[in-house]
Structure formats: C-alpha cells, structure tokens
Subunit: 286 residues, 2 copies
C-alpha cells in the first residue's frame, strides 16, 4: 500500500499506473505533477489523480513513492527539481525506455545514484499517448524490468516491485547495460525501421496511390510508426550506443539479403526467411 | 455465374475464393487441381471443392473459368500444362503477387499473351497458408487488382471482374509494371524488412532472452515474418527489379537516419519520425 504517490508526467504510462493502483486498492492519495495545468486538471477530472501541482517541490512533499513518467529528455530536469525536495525515505522510480542515460543523469545531478531510486521500465504501451489513452489494465500480465544498481536499497526495490505487482505485472531484474541492449534490439530497432519505411514510401512521388493499395500486413507492420515522434527521438538519442550497434547489424544483414536477391541466390533467401519464420513462430507460441 | 470453375492450387487464396463463390451462389461445380492428392482430398472433405484431379489437362476440361493460385515459381509449369488443353472460350486468371513475371511466362509459353488470360492479384491474405486456413470472407471489402494487357478480351475481363465482385471485393485495373512497383513498396519491401529483422535478432547470441522481452509492438511488426518462406522467396525473385529499387531506396534512407542518430541530429530525426507518423495516421484513417 502506497499512502501518498506522486506521478510526475501524467500521460499514458503514468495515468495507467494510477488507474491500476486505484483499481487494486493499493494506493491512498495520488498527486499528479507536470508542466501543463490544463492537462493536469483533465487528469483530475478523469479521476486519474486526486490533486496536482505544476511545482515538483510541492508535489513530492510527504510522498512515499515518486514515479517519473516523463520523456527521456526531461529526466535530467526532473532530477534537478527533485534534489533537496525529497526525504531520505522517499522511494523513486521511473518508466523510461532507456536505463543507462537515466542512471547517468541521476548520478550527475545527485552526485551518486540515490539509494532509493530504482530505475524501471514497463514493457507495455500503445502507439497512443496522453492521459486520455490511459487504462487500468495496461500492465496486466506485462513485464516490468527493474534495473537496480550496486548501492540500491533492497527495501526500496521491494516497494517498487510490490507497486508493479499490484498492477498485475510480472517484475524482472536486469543489469542497466543489458536492459539497454535487449530493448535496442526488440523495441528501438523495430521502431526505427517502421518510421524509416513509412517515411521512404511517403516521400515517393505517387505516395497517395501507394498507401491506398497497402493491405493488412502493412497496417500491422507500420502501427508503431504512429508512435510519438518526440518520445522516440528522445529514446534513440538516449540509447544511441546500443541502438547504433543493432542498426549496423541490421543494415549489414539487409545488404546481404539485397545482394542475394540480385544474384538470385535462392538458398540464401530461403534459409533467411525460414530461420526468421521459425524464430517468429516460436516467439508467438511462447 | 460460373458453371464450372477450376482452381489450380487449392490453398488459402484458392480455397477462400471457392468458399466465397459458393457462399454467394455464384458458382456451379468447383474442380480442384494440384500435385498432392491427400491435400486435394482434404479440400473436398472440407467442402471447398466438389471434385479434383492431379492432372491439369483433366481438371480444366469444360471449365469456363480457370483460376491459378499456385506459388509464383510454379506458374510457368502450369501454363505449359494448360497449353492445348483449354478451349477458346475458357477464361484464365491468377492470383500471383507479381504480374510482370506471370505475363512474361505466359507470353513465352503460349507465344503471345492469351486474350482470355486476365492477370490478377487479390490484396488479401493472412500469414497462414493452406486450405485449412481458407475462409469465405477473406475478400470482403478487399481490393483485387487486375492488370489486363493490350490484347485482353473485354468479355474475359468482365467475367473475372464479376467473379471477384461476387466475393465482396472491389476490383481495380492497373498496368502490369505499375502494379509491380506499387506492390514492391507496400508489400514486398515490408516483408523483406520483417524477415531480415527477425533473422538478425535470431542470430544474436542471447536470442532466447531477446525474444522473451519483446512487447506487442514487436509482435505486430513481425507478424508478416511468419509468412510462407517459399512463397516469399518466389515473390522476391519474380519482382527482383522493382523490389531492388525500393530496397536500395530504403537502405539509403536508413543510412541517413543512422548517421543522424550518431551525430545527434535532432531536427533530422524529429522531422523523419513526424513525417512518418503523419503519413501512417492518414493511411489508417482513409
């Protein structure tokens, strides 16, 4: 049970967390915090939060849990405003898609990683954003990755874990660097490809017509290209190093496939497609 | 009304056509034809076809419509077996994903494009294959592209059009070359990227773990990588020329994006993602 929860950035992720905890009866008061008062008023109107403030120092007062669900690039500024305004017992976590840059920023601002800051990342979301799109079931049966560091406080870790479990999620621990590598491959890379594909087609001369003949496969394949551009801009710069590595790997593999198609290398093409199909079918059935 | 319909290759596409025409009461007898007798017997058992033969010359006897729904690479062999076995009034169409190679093969085998052969391509399908996966509603509100050529018989075109309309589809006409360019962009390219992505990840060392952290976005993005490898091998070689062009275009655009991420070129990244999101959102709402 969290008596006083402060959510900084009440959008899809933060809003859904609030709704889920409320539904589970696992939270007392929820304070929303953000830069846009109109937006916060709307979140209150929707019953997602109880009260709000645009001032972080005010919002986090007496909070026993602070959850930061802002775009990656705003993390550093939030840490700066948290500094000096939280008690020793306040637990902090976040929901950023990249953990290395969050840990770096916190270490820079606070001088060292705060023992009660447990970096986290819910593997959940939709291509929509904003509190209007939030819903209590977003985290049910989804995975939450926590990346505690060496000096992390075990009791803080336990509290963050319990919070996500109350939302119906499965909580997993992983190293910061490893998290960023895995997510670069399974999430950030596909988003880059979807954005790049749709943009390539959109800039082709007869784009109007091209899109009108696209079928269901295209719709599914490009769904993630409807994601928030600012958010994904932040993610790809925050995870530049791991993302670059998988992008190069993919680019080189694609080049080999292009050459195989040009040469009519049936074996190469069939082997590639077959390996991919087996891996994908296995993933779906797991 | 088609009195006697012969479907060569009774899989997802041919089976769904049979079921749809039957449901619409737009067909008399349906003869299935293929190489595998066990498979044809199963199609008969499922009520998809009335009778069958593994011999094309026998199957097409007295058929007023022959629909070829075999993999692209088998088209030429089917044309060879059709030669001399069809009457002057038999209408032929196909459902191949590439039209240039089908027209080339027919021209080569028959000496000229048969006036009653109207090349076609239903923009419909799922990642599944086989007659077991066929269903009568597959073509409802989907687009069928017909690519008649200069000497095509208008009455044959009309019959093929009526057949697809009876399945609830919208029929569109397009030039052969233009069809292959549009499909290379909206269908063949995305399939190449999905296969290449899943294969890249599958060959990474910790693949087991990587896939286990993939979320819904990845599932949707890679659905088409579960498609039939042989079929897509055939398609990418049959449409090599148009596909190569969009693959190069995509590769070059991806390279620019990689460089922008490396350089931290925020403007380039945000503009690319924003253009893509707008194009994708527009496509979905159309």
């Amino acid at each position: 049970m969290i008596d006083r929860l402060c959510i900084i950035g009440v959008g899809l992720i933060g809003g859904s967390l609030a709704r889920a905890l409320r539904k589970a009866g696992a939270v007392g008061e929820i304070i929303g915090c953000g830069r846009d008062e109109v937006h916060l008023a709307r979140a209150k109107e929707l019953g997602v939060i109880d009260t709000y403030s645009t001032d972080i120092s005010e919002a986090v007062q007496q909070a026993d849990m602070v959850v930061i669900t802002v775009p990656m690039q705003a993390m550093e500024s939030v840490f700066m405003q948290l500094q000096g305004n939280i008690t020793e017992s306040t637990v902090i976590t976040d929901a950023g898609s990249v953990k290395g840059s969050a840990v770096d920023a916190a270490t820079r601002i606070f001088g060292a990683m705060p023992q009660n800051y447990i970096p986290g990342h819910p593997i959940a979301g939709t291509e929509k954003s904003g509190v209007e799109a939030s819903f209590a079931e977003l985290y049910e049966n989804r995975r939450i990755i926590l990346t505690p560091v060496e000096n992390s406080n075990p009791s803080a870790l336990e509290k963050v874990r319990a919070m996500w479990q109350a939302c119906g999620a499965e909580v997993i621990e992983m190293g910061v660097e490893h998290h960023d590598e895995v997510l670069a491959a399974t999430s950030h890379l596909p988003h880059m490809l979807a954005y790049a594909l749709v943009d390539t087609l959109a800039r082709m001369d007869d784009k109007q017509e091209i899109f009108s003949y696209a079928a269901g496969g295209f719709r599914d394949f490009t769904r993630i290209a409807s994601s928030n551009p600012q958010m994904w801009h932040d993610i790809c710069l925050a995870n530049e190093s791991a993302l670059k590595e998988v992008l190069y790997r993919f680019r080189d593999d694609l080049q080999l496939l292009i050459e195989a198609i040009e040469k009519g290398d049936s074996d190469y093409i069939k082997e590639t497609f077959t390996r991919a199909k087996l891996a994908r079918d296995k993933f779906v059935h797991e």
